[in-house]
Assembly symmetry: C2
Homo-oligomer: 390 residues x 2
């Protein structure tokens, strides 16, 4: 087991009706003048907006609204939010929505208390040491941002999508009501399921051996995701299954599954550049990349992939190679069963982009010129994976 | 899934050499005048005491020592510690040892900032709202107190052993170095393994159904404990296995495995009264009580016990009754394989005590007059379980 430090201070309020805890929680965490940040307005259609406004008014908390977050949240709106926080003397940010809204709120939070350009944080030029506190009300179980130390932002200028991972980004608290996910479109539900599954994969596929408990916790989470995915697709108002998927999304990314190991994250980094090009949903991009990443790298630790096939999909075979391929096929079949794409062609990304994506992705680590840890990928490795996925 | 709130703010520093982080961490958490609390002196024999003193001196932190914590920590020493904190104007408590030392430190922490009798907190007469911050350096993986909101204390006067569970009891930080557990006597290692396993059982055996992820995380933790237990018994200096057992002990009791369900805790409450009588090690008492509690209650939810047998011990049988009994027998065999007792006779508790233990235990909940949630036990139910265990 690799040495680690772990602390996740985010308070979770989970379950139906948990929005009732919003007012008291905001007061407990010292909010008096809130930026209420959200996306395209679906929270207004589904009544969540009204519940939030009622809770804010009921608690006597003043607020300023900033809607308009888009999937793959943009740096430009974050800069607008930072200016608004300064102008209105905002002391707390409330993000209501999915990972994009939350990630945008986190960007605003660290930018509002920083004198330089917030993009510095996403390009390793500076590291944030403070933030306006952020709380979230989650409406899309997927990114895990409601209890993670991550924020992923797209710079409109150069179409770069970059992650920032630092402890100050853990939200103060998050409200998770599975009923808020009943009206998610099926494709968005499926993309979220893929995203959370891959958050576990990125931690599971490590070269750090002797990390038995974390392995088993990862496998448990993957099985729970698979076990509940078809139910939420078939019965969007099944509370029990929606609750499982929602809590899986948090556990997948709150870093408890990272303890004692180094993760990989190459698939995420490759996918970030796909969606920077054409705004493909993150989960859909991952469903294309991950099985092909697996095909490309499994030879660098076959034992790990045999274990994955056996413990996640109950696949046993006397030939490790066969077991591994059956495991990867089972994963493809799972993604397909919930309606996700399998090829780059399906999402309109052609071979002419492959070299560019490879070059852009590998620049993520300017020092090593590779991405990922299970097997460090060069630009041409990434190109080869994209070819497998075409 | 039952609604829940979850927040565990304890920072974990895990791995060999992590004592190097003690000085910086104490400073980060604002310690300037520390009560250094420990047990019978084994930390002096094994060099841990010297490392702690060096770290405290190196960080320029003044400290006062209070050793002498015994297993089933006593209220009398806690009162002594409270007086010492007031006299010396202590602002931080550092517990170095196992669960007893940590639980004692937690009692001192809440007592030092309370004007009344600290025993009020353990008898539901008052609830602590503040504490002196507590940090821990763990030497015995067992109680999980290093990242739990619990403290269990024995009142010497009436031989009552009572738990207190409140959020202020989460330690500020905990240092976990698996090498510190190399010199644990085998019996103590085994008792710790049983204690952590039962912490999972108490959460796993619930009547709250539809809690798939938490079920699977519990099963993962139980399997990891079983999978590493024999190795640590046979090879006490096996770092990998010691690390697994140590991290299992924390995960078993940091409340992540409680999410979405009501636990039981009857076995713990019964055992507390056993060890209040004759100072039997908590884990040894549990190894006697738990399989017999299972035999007594399984009929109230056979499906849950069938799942336990199958997913934890790979036992399948067309007859649920047979599967369940094989599962319970497998658990007995596991406890026996690491050298733990199976009967009350072995630890010198005779039938004449059974009625008294039953009466005392059920007084824990003065309103309902029963203990436990999976199946609420009356005094005579407890007597019947003790008879099964004799």
């Amino acid at each position: 087991m690799v040495n680690f430090n772990f602390k996740n201070p985010t308070e979770i309020f989970f379950g139906k009706g948990s929005v009732d805890q919003l007012g008291p929680a905001l007061k407990k965490y010292g909010a008096s003048n809130v930026l209420f940040h959200y996306g395209g307005g679906s929270i207004k259609t589904h009544g969540i907006y009204d519940q939030v406004v009622k809770a804010l008014n009921g608690a006597g908390i003043s607020f300023t609204e900033l809607g308009g977050v888009v999937p793959n949240p943009r740096l430009s709106l974050i800069k607008e939010g930072i200016a608004l926080c300064r102008e209105k003397k905002i002391d707390f940010i409330l993000a209501v929505g999915g990972g994009s809204v939350i990630d945008s709120a986190k960007g605003i939070g660290v930018g509002a208390v920083y004198s330089g350009d917030v993009w510095d944080f996403y390009t390793d030029k500076a590291s944030p040491e403070a933030t306006l506190p952020v709380a979230t009300i989650l409406t899309i179980p997927a990114a895990g941002s409601e209890a993670s130390f991550s924020s992923v932002v797209t710079n409109d200028d150069g179409a770069y999508k970059r992650p920032l991972d630092v402890p100050v980004l853990y939200p103060a608290f998050s409200i998770l009501d599975p009923e808020y996910t009943y009206t998610l479109p099926p494709y968005q539900t499926a993309c979220g399921i893929c995203d959370m599954f891959v958050h576990v994969c990125e931690r599971y596929f490590t070269q750090d051996m002797e990390n038995d408990l974390t392995d088993r916790l990862c496998e448990a989470t993957m099985r729970a995701i698979i076990n509940n995915a078809l139910t939420v697709m078939a019965k969007p108002r099944d509370y029990a299954a929606r609750a499982e998927i929602m809590w899986c999304g948090t556990i997948a990314h709150n870093n408890i599954l990272s303890t004692g190991r180094t993760g990989d994250w190459a698939s995420h980094l490759i996918e970030h550049e796909l969606s920077a090009i054409n705004d493909v949903a993150h989960g859909a991009g991952l469903s294309i990349i991950v099985p092909n990443w697996m095909k490309y790298v499994y030879k660098h630790n076959t034992q790990r992939f045999v274990q994955f096939a056996e413990r996640v999909f109950d696949i046993k075979d006397s030939s490790p190679e066969t077991a591994i391929n059956k495991g990867i096929d089972a994963l493809r079949a799972f993604f397909s069963s919930i309606g996700l794409p399998a090829t780059l062609t399906e999402i309109g990304i052609g071979e002419d982009s492959f070299k560019g994506i490879g070059e852009k992705t590998k620049k993520f680590d300017t020092q090593k010129g590779t991405v990922g840890n299970f097997y460090p990928l060069t630009g041409s490795d990434i190109e080869a994976i994209l070819k497998l996925a075409k």
